[in-house]
Amino acid sequence: MKLTPLRILFGLALLGSLALEFLYEPTPPLEVWDYPFFFALTGVLGCLALAFLAKGILPPLLDRPEDYYDPPGEPDGEAES
């Protein structure tokens, strides 16, 4: 992967968000979301889980052709706003 200024900036932002853990000390009793890097992990795992659910599991069950209910109507945007 080629390193571009935008990618370097994005990487630094990722590290910066992790560094914020050291500026905050949660008060007990701790909930699961008070543990370090919980939200980074939620971002990664949540994104993967939702993407897999929406693109891997559900489409075979729920995807249908666009004219499933009716024959195709007029193209979108034909009537003026």
Partner: protein
Amino acid sequence: MLGLLPPGLILIVGALLLPLVPRAARGWAFLVPPALALWHLSGLAEGDRATWAFATYELVPLHVDALALVFAWIFALMTLLTGVYALHVKDTGQQVSAMLYAGSGLGAVFAGDLFTLVFFWEVMAVTAAYLIWARHTEDSYAAAFRYLMVHIAGGALLIGGAVWHISETGSIAFTAFEGGPAAWLILGGFAVNAAVVPLHAWIADAYPRGTVTGSVFLSAYTTKTAVYTLTRGFPGWEILLWAGGLMAIFGVVYAIFVNDIRRVLAYHIVSQVGFMVAGVGVGTAMAIDGVASHAYNNILYKGLLFMATGAVLHATGRSRMTELGGLIRGLPGVFWIYMVAALSISSAPFLAGFVSKPLTIAAIEYAELPALVLLLHLASVGTFLSVGLKLPYFTWFGDAPREPVELRPIPWNMYVAMVIGAGLNILLGVWPELLLGILPAGGSGFEPYEVKNLKKALQLLLFTAAVFFVIVAYLKPKPKIQLDTDWFYRRAAPLAWRWTVVPVEAVFRWVDDASWKLASHAARLGIDPVERLIALKGERPASNFAPGQTASTTFRVSTTTMMVFLFIAVLAAFAAFFLSG
């Protein structure tokens, strides 16, 4: 000057006067009623109340408290802003129905009794349906009809519940309900408008099919009015906690895999309203603050998202991601405006959503509902993934479509409205006290700009983005539609037609045919009974008539014969009647 006039009536009267304004000035005239309503709102205070006598009841068309004012401010402000966005529209029907729709939403917010609420509720349903119908495509006609049918059913639940409640309690006051069948019916009516799963399918069916400007109006009022009425009528009802959690996840999952950009936003309304419904389920002062602020901000950024996607539709004539792509060169301004709204709805710092969504989640944390909190965090990931990453990537970047897009110019007023909307999102993000200060509990001491809130938001957003750019090819949209709960009534309609209308029609057709045949036989019998009797026996009467002689030549004889038979029959009937009597 306007005293205790319900602000909704300003818009409704304005709507009725609009057709009288010359066509060229009507767009500008549209801005007057919401501006007047905003001015009137600034003079209203908590505790203000107006009553009107109606039969033996006392209607309360104006009941002012802090919660109503929060919703009223944003309703009136959004009407004004969308009026600017729609300044170029010359369709009287759309202008009048949009104003009536906004006015009835505002009317429902100040309704202090169930009759007034039901009235405005029903006006909203009809006028909203017109905004879908006004696109004038076969799809939009059908979707508007389905919208109307679903909302008539929801309205029936509300009316049934209201009548039951009034007959039980003798009171028409719209206050918090305590339970019982009447309250459940009313809850059902509110749930339809709030798009509570599984009663939500109308939103994804109708909103993408509305007009460009109509869908901006639609995104603001129906679901948020329902959130308001749920907050007033059902705070602390536990069922709403889990209904809200389900909505939050369900909405984003669909938003990730649908193809139409305005359908993405429609499903995402289900998710965002889920946060609010869950907050209503908690019912604490802090949760109500969260609900009110989230509804307020949601109207702002969801309206802006619909404006930006509407601008794409206006410019390209397309709304499917599979037919879009590479628009960054043609519509860069719309992209940046869209991203302000998308980041705001994703709770990015220094934007409006950073204040209201964490406030709602904090209230649920305080209520010690960890499972629900986790669900809402997961829904936040889905929000950014669907609205903040996937939609803009495949619309403005990604592969250009096979058929090149010819861009129509976007009217200047659409840009002005979008820039103002983006500015308001930034203003409420950097100056949260503006909104927190008008909430019923003054924001409940919530401090958005704490390190823990910044950490939450930045980690969630940045790591979601990091994964998205790795799996972006996997998320490529497909030219498909997705089944939802509307399948039951859209597929059931032809079946119901086949099982009810078709058999009845067949019976009618059979009776019709039989009647004609009977009449035909009777006529022929009247013309020549001898011929018919012989024909019935299977013999030809040819020997009685000369070849080529038609039946008409025997008419006189047979008529006389029939008259004699008829006379004898009538005489016999009379005789039988009088003799038996």
